[in-house]
């Protein structure tokens, strides 16, 4: 299954070496992976350079749409409005969204003596809405027989900044526990649910680590030694892992009304697929379908295909702890990127 995926990057990396500087702006979640991709790509292409500023997905999309960046890194695909706007900078065919970075979001907690808990979506929602306030609440205890639960109060810690992680987590809650989570899906934590919070993934992790009884949601790679919840999918509790995350992306459906080369994905958060971990963040690279010079096109293609290639994904996994794209997705992404051409 690996052959087709390996072909794309091999041909572009080994073929005519590309040159120039490629500028991207966007998601900070991708930052670590991006460092790895940059390094890998630049060592294969002497004269090429990639610069990436992790300003945030929104800033990245805005810069991309105003022509300030050649590609954007975004935790969400462009919505329909933005797709229309993209035609101004990218030509009539607009932009394409390519998933490049998959990362499971851990529900992480700091509870003396407990490293693993089973939680279903409604319970998670109730914890985060502060309906459940202590760790020995029956709703938690009933799912965790044999675990010694203290009566420590639960301190919810959420992100203070607008973030893709929040958006994906909340999307999961509202899809999988619609009765208990009635808030709008947004990158900002609902204002009504005021609680302890901190800036950035490292901020929430730091705060939880230093506060007994605290719980948060954060990129799995960053939670370190904190306890992680197993999430109930179907009838089983699924442990967080790269494979489980990849599987959740695998079962996602393409967004309707998009061109064939666009790969925007609609994740099934309420999936019952066994072994899938639906609390997952998919981050995209947004490219134009056409650029105005051959050099840029070559550069974009070479970089894009490298990122989605098996080698690129492996680099990211090694550096950032992300889940690699499945071979099918990788192949599809390569084809999509290869379709980028010089515009008029």
């Amino acid at each position: 299954t690996g052959e087709p995926a390996g072909e794309g990057p091999a041909s572009s990396a080994a073929g005519t070496a590309v040159t120039g500087t490629l500028t991207g702006i966007g998601s900070s979640a991708q930052n670590s992976a991006m460092e790895a991709w940059k390094t890998g790509f630049e060592s294969a292409n002497e004269g090429a350079m990639v610069q990436y500023s992790p300003d945030g997905s929104g800033a990245g999309r805005k810069a991309f749409l105003s022509g300030g960046a050649q590609f954007a890194g975004s935790d969400a695909y462009l919505d329909d409005d933005e797709m229309t706007q993209a035609k101004e900078v990218c030509g009539p065919d607009g932009a394409i969204n390519i998933p490049v970075y998959i990362s499971p979001i851990a529900i992480a907690f700091n509870l003396e003596g407990v490293t693993e808990l089973n939680l279903d979506a409604p319970t998670i929602a109730k914890i985060f809405t502060k309906e459940i306030t202590t760790w020995n609440d029956p709703a938690i205890a009933s799912q965790n027989e044999g675990v010694e639960l203290p009566d420590t109060p639960i301190t919810v810690v959420h992100r203070s900044d607008d973030s893709g992680t929040t958006e994906n987590f909340v999307e999961y809650l509202s899809a999988a526990a619609p009765e208990d989570w009635t808030y709008e899906v947004d990158g900002a934590w609902p204002a009504d649910l005021q609680s302890e919070n901190a800036k950035g993934t490292s901020g929430v992790v730091q705060t939880v680590t230093s506060t007994d009884g605290a719980i948060t949601y954060a990129d799995a790679s960053a939670v370190g030694d904190l306890g992680k919840a197993k999430v109930k999918v179907g009838e089983e509790y699924t442990e967080i892992s790269s494979d489980a995350a990849a599987k959740a992306v695998e079962v996602a459906t393409p967004v309707e009304g998009r061109s064939a080369s666009d790969m925007s994905l609609e994740l099934q958060r309420d999936t019952t697929e066994s072994g899938a971990y639906p609390v997952v963040l998919v981050s995209y690279h947004v490219f134009c379908t056409s650029y105005d010079s051959q050099e840029t096109v070559d550069l974009v293609k070479a970089f894009g295909t490298y990122v989605v290639s098996e080698a690129g994904q492996a680099e990211a996994e090694a550096s950032a702890g992300s889940a690699p794209l499945s071979p099918t997705l990788s192949e599809k992404a390569t084809t999509a990127i290869e379709s980028i051409e010089v515009g008029s």
Partner: protein, 349 residues
């Protein structure tokens, strides 16, 4: 003036060798220059003596230009803010974050901003002035320089580091203090519990900001204290004033406008600080208690939401920036008013 070199200077000892001015070649030269000038008949003082006058014009022109440039920059910043903020004011109230219009969104964080800056200044100003006095008038002379230098360093620590220090080192320490306060002094509205477990509250922010502001106020005040004319210090001491009375009589009145300026600079920093607040505060809705989680400042609100902001949200954040601009404006108007009221008694001269 131009004759300064040509004419032999007066002679102190022997007056015999003073040549009469008409015979001096140097003076002849100048005479001729004058006669060849444009308007021989009129005022000889009018002729330009040297290129210096141009120098004066250029220098004052350049200074003026610098001032005008600042005005221009400020004007463009204001225009930039206004243009970018405009959509917020015309937007449908339900579109605005919070869904109740811009006023409902901004007022709590205006109050938060003012609270944070107030705490910071209330703590920082007396300490900073005292530290400046310590360096200028109390510490042993030799040590004073070193101390001043060390305090100045505080200004150089990046806000990120203050932020990191604030939430890693300071907040956990304060959390226990807050718990105690909430328990024992909870009846005072600002100490109402339950206290934050993490200590990342408005009071912590105020303290961190105070630490950041102290070097600014100290450094400027110190320089001014040091310039107090010794004539006036001696006048006070000779009357039998104690050191404090001397400071109160001679130093503080002399430095008053400077202290106000320094405080205003500090206030600017406290109002506009983004990163440290963003890292230290655990923001939330407006609450009176300073030991509880909650409250938010404008600058931090912008910093936290800017990266992901898009469309109207972006306009909103910039409108928030505009509001901060206006707050600064008002506060400074008040400060200026206080300074000018006492202008007649200012120390210069």
């Amino acid at each position: 003036m131009e004759t300064g070199r040509d004419r032999p200077p007066f002679t102190a000892g022997t007056s015999s060798d003073v040549p009469s001015s008409a015979r001096t070649p140097g003076r002849h030269c100048i005479r001729n220059d004058r006669l060849e000038g444009k308007d021989v008949s009129t005022n000889s003082l009018k002729e330009p003596t040297d290129r210096g006058r141009a120098g004066d014009k250029i220098f004052s022109g350049v200074s003026l230009a610098a001032g005008v440039l600042i005005l221009a920059v400020l004007f463009s910043v204001a225009v930039f803010l206004l243009v970018q903020a405009a959509p917020t004011f015309t937007a449908d109230p339900t579109e605005i974050t919070g869904g109740e219009g811009f006023a409902a969104y901004i007022v709590p964080i205006i109050i938060g901003t003012v609270i944070a800056a107030t705490i910071a200044l209330v703590i920082a100003t007396p300490i900073a002035i005292a530290v400046a006095l310590f360096i200028s008038h109390y510490a042993p002379r030799r040590l004073a320089r070193a101390f001043g230098y060390v305090i100045d360093l505080l200004a150089a620590i990046p806000s990120v580091i203050y932020g990191a220090w604030g939430y890693i080192v300071l907040a956990p320490q304060l959390a226990t203090v807050y718990a105690w306060l909430a328990e024992n002094l909870g009846w005072i509205p600002i100490f109402t519990g339950p206290a934050s477990q993490t200590g990342k509250t408005m009071l912590t922010v105020g303290i961190v900001l105070a630490v950041m502001v102290i070097p600014i106020i100290t450094s400027l005040s110190r320089e001014i204290f040091l310039q107090t004319p010794s004539l006036h210090e001696e006048a006070a001491l000779a009357m039998g004033a104690t050191r404090w009375e001397m400071v109160r009589m001679a130093v503080l009145p002399f430095a008053r406008p400077g202290i106000i300026s320094a405080t205003m600079l500090g206030l600017g920093r406290a109002l506009g600080e983004t990163m440290a607040v963003a890292l230290v505060l655990s923001p939330g809705a407006l609450v009176a208690s300073l030991v509880k989680t909650g409250n938010q400042t404008i600058a931090a609100e912008i910093a936290l939401n800017f990266p992901e902001a898009f469309g109207l949200r972006l306009n909103e954040l910039i409108a928030a920036g505009l509001v901060l601009f206006v707050i600064t404006l008002i506060v400074n108007m008040i400060a200026r008013f206080i300074i000018t009221r006492h202008k007649e008694f200012s120390g210069a001269n």
